[in-house]
Symmetry: C2
Subunit: 343 residues, 2 copies
């Protein structure tokens, strides 16, 4: 890590580098041109909860077509009008995979991820699959979102996310995760090719000497902006012949290697990562509903159209069809609604 | 770092732990009961700039009695009305120590600290004195402020604060500083005495074995909340006989020891730290105006009354008198105004 100077390689039309988190038109969520008032939505939801049975179609119809800002207003208005939170209202009425999905979708996105991270850290599961959410919020989200999650975590759980990682995750995974969740990356397209080459070599050395959690590697992965890191991964492949994640997996089959592979993929191509999460959750015996729900809910209003196209590319079949084939009932209806489809 | 569980030891009347950054009534800044409109303030400032000479008294009278929110509104309104930023307007009219102080005070506090941090990192000075601002923003500020500084840093300098620390600061100081600036501490009073004892011992071991920048020490200092760390420092003194900062300084006289002493003091007692910054800037040959200005501007609307009382305690003389004795002209007038005095 010798040179840290920067060269501007990409600018928007205004001359200002563009944020890496503008996915114009890449959301699958369909919102309305004319949105009902939050009061109207809140009253309709309350009506759907009351009486014998719950009208799930109304819940899906309303919440499945509102973006994060609109859902926030509905949460606030519902609370004022009905003297209970919308989440509490939903909790009494919905259950199973559908219930989980609707409730996750209704939370503020930062609170949702804070809750998912806390669940992951408390789960005592082995391996790294359950830590995916923590990698996603650090490596496939904007710095503002990540900080929002850290704030929500402190507000909800009386400790910081980092403290809970330190107590729940063993070394050296802990070191990588603390580095990642504490990042606040420069959020625009800015690449220095010299730095990319230097740092690709530094990572190569670490892989060769099996020091994957070396300070330098952690600093590179947790301080560099996403464009810079993608350039580094490209330099790595050019210079050393194979993609960085392949070399990582060749160097060992432990949790550290799996975690780093996940990190590299999330940074290099969030859409590929989420396509694989959905693919893996569907393929094989049974369905991993928690992962499927998380992936769709996380990306429906960010870049789901890119995830779908990547899915088609990898699995040679449509993501929507796969979800339809593997789910049922209101859960299916809700996911397909978020995916921009109709059932 | 075995146990990370938490015990609630202090609650506010509402049962919710209180933020560590509420210093009710501890500001020295005097604002007005009836505040003129931002339009009125902007017009008066513009008038003070125009013509032969500048009316410094008007600048002091207005900006020296407005809090961060009020200054923000004046900045916005001035820009709209006069087609130049207030900072540009000031830059043309004020200079010297007075000018520097007024301009720093006029910036948004996060932008101010980002600029000061950048200046410190670019200065190529030896030692750690110039890094004080980075320790202060990490160890004597709220997590929201620190994140605001990181965001402002990215916006202003086309790289992240962490990246610039990595390139400008040598190991092991770099490791400590990156840990500190990436923190987002739990911001309420929450102390676990068992953890405090365990971690006091862990720090003691590191001091004994001269491994002051050990991962565990960095994790403790950069993830724990301030109340928890103060309890840890107290446990340290009880168990090991001397205050932690004394033991650090006994273990060596290098930059690492000086930096860690600064960190401990900032966390343990920000008011003592700032009283000492002011004392040191005044005592001896010449005055270190940059440090004096920074300390007063940073704390005038936070806890300057506590800093003054700590100053009296340490130096057996009044902070206001010391500033009056060591400064002159508009610079003196402005600082004394921020200190809540009249000249």
């Amino acid at each position: 890590m010798k040179s840290f100077k920067k060269l501007l390689t990409s600018k928007s039309k205004t001359g200002v580098p563009e944020s890496s988190f503008k996915f114009g038109g890449m959301a699958s969520l369909i919102t309305l041109d004319v949105v009902p008032s939050p009061e109207e939505d809140s009253q309709k939801l309350k009506k759907a909860f009351i009486g014998l049975g719950t009208d799930e179609d109304v819940i899906i119809e309303i919440l499945g077509h509102r973006d994060a800002n609109q859902r926030k207003k509905i949460r606030e208005t519902y609370h004022q009008l009905h003297n209970e939170t919308l989440i509490d209202g939903l909790n009494k009425e919905v259950s199973g995979d559908f219930g989980k999905a609707v409730i996750l979708w209704t939370y503020d996105p930062c609170e949702r991820d804070a809750r998912l991270a806390n669940e992951a850290l408390k789960s005592k599961k082995k391996g790294v699959k359950h830590l995916e959410i923590i990698v996603e919020m650090s490596c496939a989200s904007s710095p503002q979102h990540l900080v929002g999650v850290r704030k929500a975590y402190c507000d909800l759980f009386n400790s910081s996310l980092e403290e809970d990682i330190l107590v729940s995750v063993p070394m050296p995974l802990r070191k990588i995760l603390v580095g990642l969740v504490t990042s606040y990356r420069y959020d625009k397209e800015m690449v220095d090719k010299d730095v990319a080459r230097l740092e690709a070599n530094r990572i190569h050395e670490s892989i060769k000497s099996k020091e994957l959690a070396h300070d330098d590697v952690v600093y590179i992965l947790s301080t560099r902006n996403f464009y810079q890191l993608r350039a580094t991964f490209e330099c790595y492949k050019e210079k050393h012949g194979s993609p960085i994640d392949e070399d990582i997996m060749k160097s060992g089959k432990g949790d550290l290697e799996s975690l780093l592979k996940m990190v590299v993929l999330c940074i290099d191509s969030p859409e590929k990562h989420f396509a694989q999460v959905i693919g893996t959750s569907i393929i094989g015996l049974g369905t991993d509903e928690d992962s499927l729900t998380r992936a769709i809910i996380s990306r429906a209003e960010i870049d789901m159209m890119k995830v779908k196209s990547e899915y088609l590319n990898i699995y040679k079949s449509s993501l929507d069809d796969a979800v339809i084939g593997d789910t049922s009932g209101d859960y299916r209806k809700f996911l397909i609604t978020l995916l921009g489809g109709k059932i």
